[in-house]
Symmetry: D2
Subunit: 255 residues, 4 copies
Amino acid sequence: MSDKLMIGGREFQSRFILGSGKFSLELIKAVIEHGEAEMVTLALRRANAGGEENILDYIPNNITLLPNTSGARNAEEAVRIARLSRELGCGEFVKVEVMSDSKYLLPDNYETTKATEILAKEGFVVMPYMYPDLYAARSLVDAGAAAVMPLGSPIGSNKGLSTKDFIQILVDEIDLPIIVDAGLGRPSQACEAMEMGVDAIMCNTAVATAGNVALMAKAFKQSIEAGRNAYLAGLGRVLEFEGEASSPLTGFLEG
Amino acid sequence: MSDKLMIGGREFQSRFILGSGKFSLELIKAVIEHGEAEMVTLALRRANAGGEENILDYIPNNITLLPNTSGARNAEEAVRIARLSRELGCGEFVKVEVMSDSKYLLPDNYETTKATEILAKEGFVVMPYMYPDLYAARSLVDAGAAAVMPLGSPIGSNKGLSTKDFIQILVDEIDLPIIVDAGLGRPSQACEAMEMGVDAIMCNTAVATAGNVALMAKAFKQSIEAGRNAYLAGLGRVLEFEGEASSPLTGFLEG
Amino acid sequence: MSDKLMIGGREFQSRFILGSGKFSLELIKAVIEHGEAEMVTLALRRANAGGEENILDYIPNNITLLPNTSGARNAEEAVRIARLSRELGCGEFVKVEVMSDSKYLLPDNYETTKATEILAKEGFVVMPYMYPDLYAARSLVDAGAAAVMPLGSPIGSNKGLSTKDFIQILVDEIDLPIIVDAGLGRPSQACEAMEMGVDAIMCNTAVATAGNVALMAKAFKQSIEAGRNAYLAGLGRVLEFEGEASSPLTGFLEG
Amino acid sequence: MSDKLMIGGREFQSRFILGSGKFSLELIKAVIEHGEAEMVTLALRRANAGGEENILDYIPNNITLLPNTSGARNAEEAVRIARLSRELGCGEFVKVEVMSDSKYLLPDNYETTKATEILAKEGFVVMPYMYPDLYAARSLVDAGAAAVMPLGSPIGSNKGLSTKDFIQILVDEIDLPIIVDAGLGRPSQACEAMEMGVDAIMCNTAVATAGNVALMAKAFKQSIEAGRNAYLAGLGRVLEFEGEASSPLTGFLEG
C-alpha cells in the first residue's frame, strides 16, 4: 500500500518523528533504528561547528533533520536560529518553536506565526509547534507552513491528548499534515491520536525516560502504525446496549 | 527475545486472541493471517458435525481452538457444552462463559467458578471469562483456571477499559495470565491494557465491525505488541511541571 | 417537594451519609451539622461500653446510627459484630462490610451476601457494602438487603467513579436504594453519581482529610443536592456539532 | 463569610452567570430566581428598542446585565455592538464574543483582544469569551479586561472541561477572575471547575435544554457553591494504596 506522508515535497514511510533532545549521543542511533524514524529533531546547540562531539555524526545520512528553534522567545530569535541552522548545513526543514513562557513551555502562536511567514518566504519547509487553536492553525496555513504540530498536552507532562477535542477540529478542518507533538507519554496515546486521523507523531520525553530506550522507540513505532491502520480500516462504532444475544443454548443443545 | 505467553503448557508468540463470533466464514482466514493470531474462539454452534459449512474448515491447523460455552446460563450448561466440544474434536482448551443476564451479558462469577472447577478436574485447560473481582479471581485460581479473562467493559460496547483500576489489581495480585476480553473498541485501548501488564487481549466486535476487517486485525496485533514492548521497556513517569528549561538561547547565540 | 429517601421503613431528607471513621470526636458534631447528615456510620470499637470517651456522646439523638462491621473477614465475624452492636444499643441498622483482603480493602461479595441473609432474618436493616457486580446485587436483594452500597473506587483512593458503568447498571436494574460508598474524593464526583440516579452518597476520607472539615462536609451536602436536582430535572443531552448559529449580526445592525 | 466575587468594581454573592440565549422570555424570571443569578447575559437583538416584547422587561432590576457581542465576526463589529448596547441603556458591562468560524463557534482570541482593548479604553467593563491560551489571557490582561471567560469545551457540546489542564494554568497564572463559559453540560462539571479554583461559571444550554429548567438552574447554583466551598476548604489528596488498615477485629472482639 502506498500510504505515505508528504511534507515539503518529501515522502516519508514513517509517521514517527523522533525528538533527540534528551538522549545521550550514544543512544540516538539505536533509537532511530528501533523506532524506524526518518525525521529527527535537532537543537542547534547540539550541532556546533566546533571541535567537540557533534550530534550530526550520530545520525544516519538518510534521516531528514528537523532543526528546531528551541530557546527562541520571539519571532525574531526563531528566525535567526533557523537561518544559522541552514548555514550550518542542517537543511531546509525547520521546526519553529517560540516560547516566551518559561514555566509551562507553551508555544506562543502569535510569534510562531510571524516567524513561520518570514521563514516560509525564505524557502524553508516550516513545521510550527503550536497550541491547537483553529484560528492560529488557519493563520499558519496562510503563512506558508508545511505542517502544523499541535501539542497533545504540556511538554514533558506525559499526560496524553489533553487537547483531544481541539486536535480533532484541526484534523477535520486544516488541509496540512497534523503532527501531534509534546505530552504523549505512552504508545497507547500515540495510537489514539493516529486513530483520530492525525498524520504523524513526534515524541521525545516518553522515549528518553523509558527503562529501555530503544525498545520504547519500537513500541511507539508499532503503536503509530497500529493507529494509522485503524484509521484507514475505519473504526467500528461505540454501541449502546442492545442485547446482542448469542443464539440460545437450547437451540444448540437440541439442534 | 523469548517473551512468550504460556497457557495450559502451550507456548504462544502472539498475545492477540481472536473472537470469531461475528465474522463471515470467508473472512476468518484473512483476519487470522493479518492479526497473526494463534488462538481463535469458537462457538460450538458453528462447529456442527453436520453436513453444512463448518468453521473448522476455515481455521488453519496450527491455530489453537478456544471453544467457548456461549449460551450457557449456569455451570451445568457450561460443563455440558465443554464436554460436547471435546467430543467434537475441538481440543482441551475451553473458554468458560456463563451469563444468566441476557441484557448486559455480564459474566456470572459464581457459576463460572463452579464450572471451572469441574472442567479443570476433567483435564480441560479452562480460561474463564469473568467480571474483574479480586476475590472471584482468587477463587478461579483455586478452582484450577489456566488464565483469567476479565472484561474491559460490557461486551460489544467498545468502551475500552472501564474496569481499569480493578484489572490492575488482578495484574498485580493474580499469578495467572490475565487476558482482557470484551469491550475493547480500538487498538489504542488494547495497547493501554498491555502497557499495564496484561498478558493478552481478546477481541471480536471491534475487528468484526471495522470497515476493513483484515487491516483492523493487523492494527490490533501491532498495538498489542506495542503495548507489550512498552511494558517491558518500562514506562517513564507522568511528571508534574518542573520548568525543564531548554538551555537559554543567548548562551547559544553568543557561544 | 417530597423527594425523600426511604431505607428500612425510615424516611430521610438527607442523601448524605457520613462516615465517622477518621474524625476526632470533637469534630463530628460540627461535621454532622454542616453536612446536614441524618445517618452516620460507627465502627463498634468506637462505641465501647467502657468508661472512656464514647462516640455516641458526640452524635445528636435525631441521627440514625449506622454501625458497620469493619474488621470482619468473613460472614461469621460480621454477624457477631452486628449482634454486639445491637446489644450495645446502636439500633437495627447495620452496614455489613466483609473484607478478607487487607491490601485493597475490597468487599467480599460472597461473604457479604451470607452475612446479609442471616442478619436480615434477624430483623436488622442491612445495608451491605459491595463490589458493584450485578449478580451480587441481585443476590443481596434476595438475601433481604435494605439498600446496596457499591464502591465508587478503592477505599481511600479519592479516585471517584471508577466503577461508573457498572453502578449505572445497578441504578437501572436493582429495585433498592443504591448508595455509592468509598472512593469519592471531591464533591463533583458525588454530584456526578447523583446525576446518574444514585440514591445517596456515603463519604468519609474526603471530608476527613480536607483542610476545613466542616466546610467540606457542607460542600458534599450541596453537591449531593445539586446532583439529585439535576437528576430530577432531567439532564439535557450531549450534542454533536450542529452549527447552532446565532442570528447574523448584519440582520441586527441593519434591522 | 465574605467570599465575594468582584468584577468591574461591583460585588457579587453569586458565582453563577446565566446565559439567557435559549429561553423563552416567560422562563427567564423563574430561572434567575431558582439559580439565584446576579448577572445575566443578553444578546442585543433581544433588547430591541421597538414595540415588541423586550427581554429587559423580564429581568429584575437588581440583576447586572451582561450584553454580549454575539454575531460579531471581527473586532470592529464587536465594538459597534457594544456601543449600541450602551446607548440602549444596557450598562457598562459587556461580554466580548468574536467568532469568525461559524461551524465550531470558537472564539477568535486575536480579534477578541483588539475589541477588548478598544472597549476598555472607552470605560466598558469587558469580559472576553476566549479560547484558553495562556498568552492570549496575558494579552487580555494587558488590554484591560475585567475578567476572562475561557471555554470549557465547544459551545453547546455539554462535554464539560475538555480544556481542563489549560484552565488550571489560567487559574494559577492570571490575576483576574476566571469564568468558565460554554460546554458545561452538567452541574458536576461546574462543580469540578469551581474545585480547581475557577471564580465563576456561565451556563446556558445545559439549563435551557433540561426537562425542568428552573430546577436545573437551582442544581447549577448548588453545585457551584459546593465547588467553591470545596476549593476554600482545601481538597484532600488522591492517595495511592497504602493498606490503611482498620484496627483488627480480634482486638475489638477480645478487648
